[in-house]
């Protein structure tokens, strides 16, 4: 807890960057980047999160313990999402079922 007192200016600058990033992410949404729209949106959100965590929440000055706890939290969330997604993504890899084997094909109507 006994953290250094951060100048008000720093907080203000962080807020301005956050606001700027918000405008940026909104703007980028109007540009066609294909699948990279999602990537850009998430990358910007991630940077904003880092700003909040490091500056507003003061993790910049926190102990290693706090960092480990925080990273563990996000890591576990990543595990949940990664393993679940792995199931959905790989379901269609299984070989296509064998062709149908009964009577001769009918003529198309």
């Amino acid at each position: 807890m006994s953290q250094p007192i951060v100048p008000q200016r720093t907080y203000l600058l962080v807020f301005l960057s956050l606001a700027g990033l918000t405008i940026l992410t909104t703007g980028v949404a109007f540009v066609d980047l294909g699948p990279f729209n999602t990537v850009a949106a998430l990358a910007i959100a991630f940077s904003k999160m880092l700003l909040v965590i490091l500056f507003f929440m003061g993790v910049r000055h926190s102990s290693g313990m706090v960092r480990i706890i925080l990273i563990a939290g996000f890591f576990w969330l990543a595990l949940l999402i990664a393993f679940t997604t792995a199931d959905y993504r790989s379901r269609s890899w299984t070989a296509a079922p064998d062709s149908w084997s009964t009577t001769a094909p009918p003529t198309h109507p």
């Binding site: 563990a72 595990l79 393993f83 679940t84 792995a86 199931d87 790989s90 379901r91 890899w93």
Partner: protein, 542 residues
């Protein structure tokens, strides 16, 4: 009731039990020891309820056509048995009773880091339990404790809502307990109590707390979504409404598989305390045993998909989950080997807690090894959803966790109550439970392999012999569980007064009177030796 005894209660020194009287002093207490007793009473109540459901089920299954109740009622019995036993007995059992009582004593602190949060967690548990009891009284619930969608969300017309709310609420009790333990173990250790001097019970509680804190919120949000779907009939998991039922299973097992480790890790911690004490030996491979707890907690999160090998999960995901499930078996095996080696060249005595601990090792070994059948893809296809599964997890959760819990209760009972219980009765109960347990659940392995599916209210006649054997064993097991209830209650009044350290054990909890005073220690102790320093000082360096 007469004054025949020469131990008048007035002479008893002030301790946490006689510090204050009246119901208020219990219901508004923030003393971790009193809260532990509140939990002890509540989980015993739920154990009796869940146990009676089990007895009814076993009686019913004596006849292939069902001897007792309608199939609908049978479904409610096994559902409530599962929900009550898992969420209201096993998960809080060792952590909330022994953990609450012992964690501050073992770290050498006056209380947990957040005593009021601790009391709050008991109230949350009671509120959750009330919802669940309400649902049982108001008609019961028949979804199975796994709440699989879409049956639970759109088809079942039983009391799903109150039960889901009850389990949801109780989850927060578990989260708060875990949070309290993590902070206490990190920040409140007595001077000199380094991580590697901590008793292994604390390591186990720490690993358990990690699971509680990281896993339980996912169960909460999953049940929240299930509740939304059930109440508002919006599609989340129901295919007819646009959802995917397998997603529910993923989210559910992300918590509920690690939950098995919430039950078994604390029991392992208890056993790691009992064995060194009754062998008068430092535990073999202290650090390995400590880290294997953490390894189980971490790896345990990555194996949930082995519950879904036949559900239509991708076979490749199944492959990864199978591999990781095998890996989690290794730290468990290491623990068993280390406990066994601790006995080597020890000085072993056979008091009741030791018998429970030995029973634990035996049953857990069998439960763990039969887990290999289910981690293996090819055999799981046949065994999944059969009585083999039922037998396997009862070996782990009843043979393992409940044996560990009873062992712990017997080990620390003199500390908790300040009285001793009759050792002969306790040994007899341990033997009856061990035999009754095996009679009940071993036949179920064979039943499962033969193909009898679980959750069947009636079954083909060829399975009857084994079912009758299982039911007969359940009777023995039931008697075995009643005996400790009787002599432990008896001992509270008539048992001989316990000295501070009746077993000659190490650990800070034995360095304070039995029962401990409200503030735990007259003076905060300073730790200068390793855990389990049973050897004479001059030989300790060997």
């Amino acid at each position: 009731m007469s004054t025949a005894t020469l131990e008048p209660r007035v002479r008893a020194p002030r301790n946490y039990l006689n510090a204050d009287y009246g119901w208020k002093s219990w219901l508004f207490t923030v003393d971790h020891k009193r809260i532990a007793l509140l939990y002890l009473v509540s989980i015993s109540f739920f154990f009796i309820i869940g146990g009676s459901f089990a007895v009814l089920m076993r009686i019913h299954l004596v006849e292939p056509g069902g001897a007792l109740v309608q199939p609908e009622t049978y479904n409610k019995l096994f559902t409530l048995h599962g929900i009550v036993m898992i969420f209201f007995f096993l998960i809080p059992s060792i952590p909330a009773v022994l953990g609450n009582f012992l964690v501050p004593l073992m770290v050498g602190a006056r209380d947990l880091a957040f005593p009021r949060v601790n009391l709050l967690s008991w109230y949350i548990y009671i509120v959750g339990g009330t919802f669940t009891l309400y649902s049982a009284i108001a008609g019961g619930v028949d979804t199975g404790w796994t709440f699989y969608t879409p049956y639970s969300s759109t088809y079942s017309n039983t009391q799903v809502t109150p039960v889901v709310i009850g389990v949801f609420i109780t989850g927060f009790s578990s989260i708060l307990t875990g949070l309290n333990f993590i902070v206490t173990i990190h920040k409140m250790r007595a001077p000199g109590l380094t991580w590697y001097r901590m008793p292994l019970f604390l390591w186990a509680m720490y690993a358990t707390s990690i699971i509680m804190v990281l896993g339980t919120p996912v169960l909460a949000i999953t049940l929240f979504l299930l509740g939304l779907e059930h109440l508002f009939h919006v599609g989340i998991f129901s295919p007819a409404l646009g959802g995917d039922p397998l997603l529910f299973q993923h989210l559910f097992w992300f918590y509920s598989h690690p939950a098995v480790y919430i039950m078994i890790l604390p029991a392992m911690g208890v056993v790691s305390e009992i064995i060194p004490c009754f062998a008068r030996k430092r535990i073999f491979g202290y650090k390995i045993v400590a880290f294997s707890s953490v390894a189980i907690a971490v790896l345990g999160f990555l194996v949930w998909g082995h519950h879904m090998f036949v559900t239509g999960q991708s076979v490749y995901a199944g492959l990864i989950f199978s591999l990781l499930s095998f890996l989690v078996a290794i730290p468990s095996a290491i623990k068993v080997f280390n406990w066994t080696s601790t006995l080597y060249k020890g000085s072993i005595s056979y008091e009741a807690p030791m018998l429970y601990a030995m029973g634990f090792i035996g049953l857990f070994t069998m439960g763990g090894l039969t887990g290999l059948f289910l981690a293996s893809l090819a055999t799981d296809v046949h065994l999944n959803g059969t009585y083999f599964i039922v037998a396997h997890f009862h070996y782990i959760m009843v043979g393992g966790a409940v044996m560990g819990y009873l062992g712990g209760i017997h080990f620390w009972w003199p500390k908790i109550s300040g009285r001793k219980y009759p050792n002969g009765w306790a040994a007899l109960a341990a033997a009856i439970i061990f035999i009754g347990f095996n009679l009940t659940f071993f036949p179920q392995f064979i039943l499962g392999y033969l193909g009898m599916p679980r959750r069947y209210a009636f079954y083909p006649a060829e399975f009857q012999v084994l079912n009758v054997m299982s039911s007969a064993g359940a009777t023995v097991l039931g008697v075995g569980y009643l005996i400790p209830l009787v002599y432990l209650i008896w001992s509270m009044r008539y048992g001989p007064i316990a000295e501070p350290n009746p077993w000659g054990a190490t650990g800070l909890e034995w360095k304070t009177p039995s029962p401990p005073p409200t503030e735990n220690f007259a003076e905060i102790p300073v730790v200068t030796e390793e855990a389990y320093a049973y050897a004479p000082q001059e030989a300790a360096g060997d």
